[in-house]
Symmetry: C2
Subunit: 365 residues, 2 copies
DNA sequence: TTGAAAGCGCTAACAC
DNA sequence: GTGTTAGCGCTTTCAA
């Protein structure tokens, strides 16, 4: 006894398979009595429509996908999460959690399900293809999958790139969403310069291949230009976007001697948090001796002491927007590629010298 | 020009469709030269295998599913998350985020993708069917979907119930995973009684239909029995598991007059956090005047002042375990139903009277 | 090692 | 309103 199909239900209800199909796809088109018979038959047989068959026949799955990088060490099977107390390594992932959340909600409202796939650094990179074969369209977090694969797949179905400007010219025709990295960092830096009167600021950037990091640095530059200060040509330090690297980075900055900066702008919160730890160790007071700010708005930034001033990215909204674009694109495949920039907001906390609680979030688009 | 299929690739490569299929499913079974030709053809055509067709032909999707409740107000489209600062309402959802995370990882390692679906309270409850039709098996958070639906679907494919003991006898034959609610609450209560010398404890439970809540209360009772104290027959108060209700609950407890309790044990962290707020308002000092403890281990519990003593559930592990069970069940459909109880750990923070930082997490299975 | 052919369970014209 | 009939794109024997 295998799973019942439309044929079984049809026979049991004394109708044709087409009618069974109609009852599920478009109940109104079937007379109430017939519909009832079909439903009873289906229930007694335990019929569950096959998504695969449906998808094949209708050439549409009603599933949207999301590919994102899995930052965590894939081998750390038992070494993570559940044993440590509270927000720790796992904060790293909140970023994608929020996006997932946003997409799931938005998708569901529109009658789509969400298929998620993290690309383990190790795994074979046919990840995209795996996903692509099962969905009507999908979103990809920048730098998650090889551009080549994406190019091919994007010819077949809608793809929207998330967070991180078009990383490759060949992906120019894709819809894409980014956050206001430039404007956010500009506003944040301006706050440091104008409101706190700081003059000597250092920037700790990411490796040059991160478009987000570069855009943030340009915002940092712009704030200097705007204030008539000397515009730095490049980040004072470049590092990986981790806490450990953040610690290392401040360490280096302060060891340099010469005129110590009055404030350090980090390309992300993780590094800034790491720096905070290191600074405490070094006996450098934040914000009295040195202001520290980040970028992202991870919850951890609120836990640390002093609480971290930062720029919050609207991750949830990012997910929602992705679904919007996907659905729109599904409806009109040949519309012009869309490029959306989501506004961010500066979150003022203690680490820049503001009194805590002064959490005005000002939008910067 | 529609998407290329096996036929197109086969023609282009000068082989049969069977060979194309083999190249994807079992490359070893095709001669290297032939394989190469097929792969080149596929690449130039931009071929992406159809998951639906594959699923239909092979009767297996290589996708696992997860159904969970969406706690948030579905209408609050623009009113949430991105605008408020830091952990707030969104903490409510971390629970499922962690499970998703755990399942995704575990699934991926085993070559499965993850389909997630939150059931909006509003939406039609065919959610399960939607998911069921597209996956090889799935996990369900207790009380997410109607038992009736589940029963039918479980006849066709593996289902594992998460968190919350078998809620219905008819679901007895399902695999299921729960956390050590009883043991956890027992250990926590014992800590209050033995280590802090508290005698008059109140329990704020959930509505009686929550199996988790009831199990926790039994743990609470057991600790009393163990200590030779009078065993309470029922929770002092019952409430919904929200912060607002937590506030209301303590308010009520303290207003009663008579002998005020020395400590309050809440069935979950949310309520406990709400209580903390209310107690501050009332000028009751925690833990000096009143000890407060929760259950769950949400990050918010660490943010509040005083930090909340609680019992942490291993959410991530829950997700991983779910995949394990599902995969095992897929391999042997007729094995005995499995019932797993995951160990929890007591997290001692300030709210019970411990000094902060004393975060021994002791496992209790 | 490769090919031919028969479905997998459903949808979508198109008739009636 | 309902039935008939082709496929949808792939996997999978079974032969060759």
């Amino acid at each position: 006894m295998s799973a019942p199909t439309v044929y079984d239900v049809a026979e049991q209800a004394g109708v044709s398979i087409a009618t069974v199909s109609r009852v599920y796809r478009n109940p109104e088109s079937v007379r109430a009595g017939t519909r009832e018979r079909v439903m009873v038959a289906a229930r007694t047989l335990g019929y569950v429509p096959s998504g695969s068959a449906r998808g094949l026949a209708s050439r549409t799955t009603r599933v949207l996908g999301l590919c994102f990088p899995d930052y965590a060490d894939p081998d750390a099977e038992d070494a993570d999460g559940d044993t440590d107390d509270g927000p720790g390594e796992s904060e790293l992932m909140l970023y994608s959690d929020e996006i997932i959340r946003g997409m799931e909600r938005a998708a569901r409202r529109r009658g789509y399900a969400l298929l998620i796939a993290a690309s383990l650094a190790q795994g074979p990179e046919n990840l995209v293809a795996e996903v692509a074969g099962r969905v009507d369209g999908f979103a990809v977090l920048a730098q998650t999958v090889p551009v080549g694969d994406l190019e091919i797949i994007a010819r077949r179905l809608p793809v929207v790139m998330l967070a991180g400007p078009r990383e490759d010219a060949s992906l120019d025709h894709l819809d894409h969403i980014e956050v206001a990295n430039f404007d956010g960092e500009l506003a944040l830096t301006r706050h440091l310069i104008v409101d706190h009167g700081l003059r000597r600021l250092a920037f700790v950037g990411s490796t040059p291949d991160s478009p987000d990091g570069e855009a943030r640095f340009r915002g940092f530059q712009a704030a200097h230009r705007e204030a008539g200060l000397r515009v730095p040509e490049r980040p004072d330090v470049r590092a990986e976007l981790t806490q450990a690297e953040g610690r290392r980075a401040v360490g280096g900055l302060l060891a340099t001697g010469g005129d110590r900066p009055e404030g350090v702008v980090f390309a992300n919160d993780q590094m800034a948090v790491g720096a905070l730890t290191e600074l405490r160790r070094l006996g450098v007071r934040v914000p009295e001796d040195l202001a520290v700010v980040g970028f992202d708005g991870i919850p951890l930034g609120q836990l640390v002491a002093p609480a971290l001033t930062t720029v919050r990215q609207p991750m949830r909204r990012l997910g929602e927007k992705a679904v919007e674009l996907l659905v729109a694109r599904l409806e009109d495949r040949r519309a012009e590629p869309v490029s959306v920039v989501l506004p961010v907001s500066v979150i003022r906390r203690r680490s820049c010298g503001c009194k805590d609680g002064n959490t005005d979030s000002v939008m910067h688009s």
